[in-house]
Symmetry: C2
Subunit: 232 residues, 2 copies
């Protein structure tokens, strides 16, 4: 297991930042190639059949899917742990990881960030306002009501900072980039929690990297990524 | 850990059959309450925030999501293993489990089975033919081309029968129920593989249970499930 790890995927994606933050926490050396799936060529489908990012490559081993990658990193580089030590705690983290990847991802990333940021700025298309409204007026408030009850008043989802906290923190940063801010009067518990997760050092570093890429020319992204990761 | 496990969810769902087959393989006693998400009351959202099945309940521990449940069962009842013993093998199984749950699930379950079976028979609605055509003419052939290259000529995705094989086998059974049959001349490797996975004893048993519910009155489902599981 001496081959270096390469992560394909732009750190603007919260799924990519989840994996980069885990690598940073575990102090694993890696390279990041900031691929964007909708401009990647047909060759990209060979390593990512659902045309998604991130993809991990290590020697001749290729692995798509941020959750499969998170487990692989936990098993090959166990310290510090990103899943709790007990089966029910791990189950709780896996559930919130899935809830974030799927339900929050669809609303924050596709309905909000993609419509408000990617379509107008990158694809030069009109956003679909109905999707934005559905996310902002219906689905995100319902999700925040649920999370407000579930996150503890201090600390994280299950003990120490886990992959679920990292993913939730990464996703809500994309919501911020799309102009959304939490209503701390309505969801005080979640507002405090989102501040705590944003302060997880490895996630803060990768959120800063993602932010450094926003609004810059994609041709410069590899240079920005390399220099920020070397300086970090 | 002496509390009995209850699985909420109808065995017509391949995600429910995946979990029931795992419980059966591991010889874990369980009850199954055949909830259908689109007719379940608002209380169901309290145990399944994405309104999906299955949900596991054990004492006061509640866990939605078939993949989180599969991991929980593997960790609390390790034998026989449903994930391989090595990290790269486990990663490969987790990737195919995700590919099946997400990509195949969307096409087979939502675009094909839901449109062709659930909408006309249960909801008394017209199916969306465009979704059916997209699944049959574009997405499923592309997925079968991919799987044709990936599955081995004999055996399973990674060593012994794993959760990925169980999920793929469960999903394609729903495709059969929606009138689809594999073109064995075009995908000979996948045709042989689908026969092998359908013969995994615990999956065969749960596929038969799902089939026994098709076309029967939902009010009779609990009785059918209880009697078939008692006889099995």
């Amino acid at each position: 297991m001496t081959d270096q790890i390469t992560i394909y995927g732009s750190p603007v994606s919260p799924y990519v930042r989840k994996v980069l933050a885990i690598l940073d926490m575990k102090n694993v050396p890696f390279r990041c190639v900031p691929v964007v799936p909708f401009t990647a060529g047909e060759d990209f489908v060979k390593i990512s059949p659902m045309r998604r990012i991130p993809v991990l490559q290590q020697g001749d081993f290729t692995l798509p899917d941020s959750t499969a990658i998170a487990h692989y990193l936990e098993e090959t580089c166990p310290e510090p742990a990103i899943y709790p030590g007990d089966a029910q705690g791990r189950a709780r983290v896996r559930w919130f990881e899935e809830y974030a990847d799927d339900h929050l991802g669809r609303n924050i990333l596709f309905n909000l960030f993609f419509q408000r940021v990617v379509r107008p700025r990158v694809l030069k298309e009109e956003p679909d306002q109905a999707l934005i409204d559905e996310a902002l007026d219906v689905n995100l408030p319902a999700a925040l009501d649920y999370l407000e009850r579930e996150v503890p008043e201090g600390g994280f989802i299950a003990g120490d900072a886990s992959v679920a906290d990292i993913m939730i923190g990464a996703l809500f940063r994309n919501a911020n980039w799309a102009g959304w801010q939490i209503d701390a009067a309505r969801w005080p518990n979640m507002a405090a929690y989102l501040t705590r997760v944003a302060d997880i050092p490895s996630l803060a570093k990768m959120n800063a990297l993602g932010e450094a890429l926003m609004g810059t020319n994609p041709r410069e992204h590899q240079t920005i990524v390399d220099s920020q990761l070397a300086a970090a």
